[in-house]
Point group: C2
Chain length 142, copies 2
Amino acid sequence: METLTIGKLAKRVGVSTDTIRFYERCGLIETAARSESNYRLYSEDDALRLRFIRRAKSLGFTLAEIGELLVLSSDPAATKADIKARATKKIDKIRHRIRDLTRIQAGLEQLVAQCDGHGSVDDCPILEALSGEHAQHNRSNH
Amino acid sequence: METLTIGKLAKRVGVSTDTIRFYERCGLIETAARSESNYRLYSEDDALRLRFIRRAKSLGFTLAEIGELLVLSSDPAATKADIKARATKKIDKIRHRIRDLTRIQAGLEQLVAQCDGHGSVDDCPILEALSGEHAQHNRSNH
DNA sequence: CTACACATTGGACCATGGACCATGGTCAAG
DNA sequence: CTTGACCATGGTCCATGGTCCAATGTGTAG
């Protein structure tokens, strides 16, 4: 089996060497084997694992969630239902976030629609709305 | 004019005293006047300004952006177009973020749809997709 | 042999928006 | 006078996902 130094692995996968060491510190990848001169040695399996992380990240999973997925993926007692539940939960979170953003967008659009965009800011309807003429635009989100 | 200590102001507006001091450090609110005993002293105007910040935040503006809005709002040379441009730019950013999230959501939904949710993770289509059937011709297993 | 590229470590730093802490001064009530 | 609530400062810490750094060792090409 071909062994890779951290730099080769990084290039092959498309991440930085710092990122690989960071993932190792986080426990996302196992502590690598070492050469005589204490260099980390990797295999193609490690490249696969890093690509897995990259793809999961692009689907919105956090590193912590990816860690869970990786644990499950090598747990003989884990079920497809476990994985599916994680993905479904993530979808729910994203849906929620989209709803929040959509509400915010609507609020801003309403303000923008009220502003003709001419003249000084003295009577800007956007600023007036923020200054709280009608002070009860309640329930902040985060 | 009634003067408020930081605690009273915080309660009135619904933020913490830490938050008010933090905003002062950031330059979002002016350095407060001080009492003989070095206590910060605030007026109703400060309460208005803090509420402005609270509302703008709930509309998705960052503190830096809110700072700009506040500068514009007291700049005689500023125009409604300036404010409107800020709001429109923010809408664009939000729209973009929503598009990203929607794409991610669609990707996840597609994966979830492929998984029947029964049995061990050995042949989980979600994990298989993340493991990169696209990127690698060689699916070694043993 | 001499460069130069690459590897190692631990730690500091980035943005964001505050929360929390210790230590010490101030103020009002009882 | 004492107690407890409030205020001051400057500092650290949180999550997130890394990046950058210095000092030092190693591998390789010319």
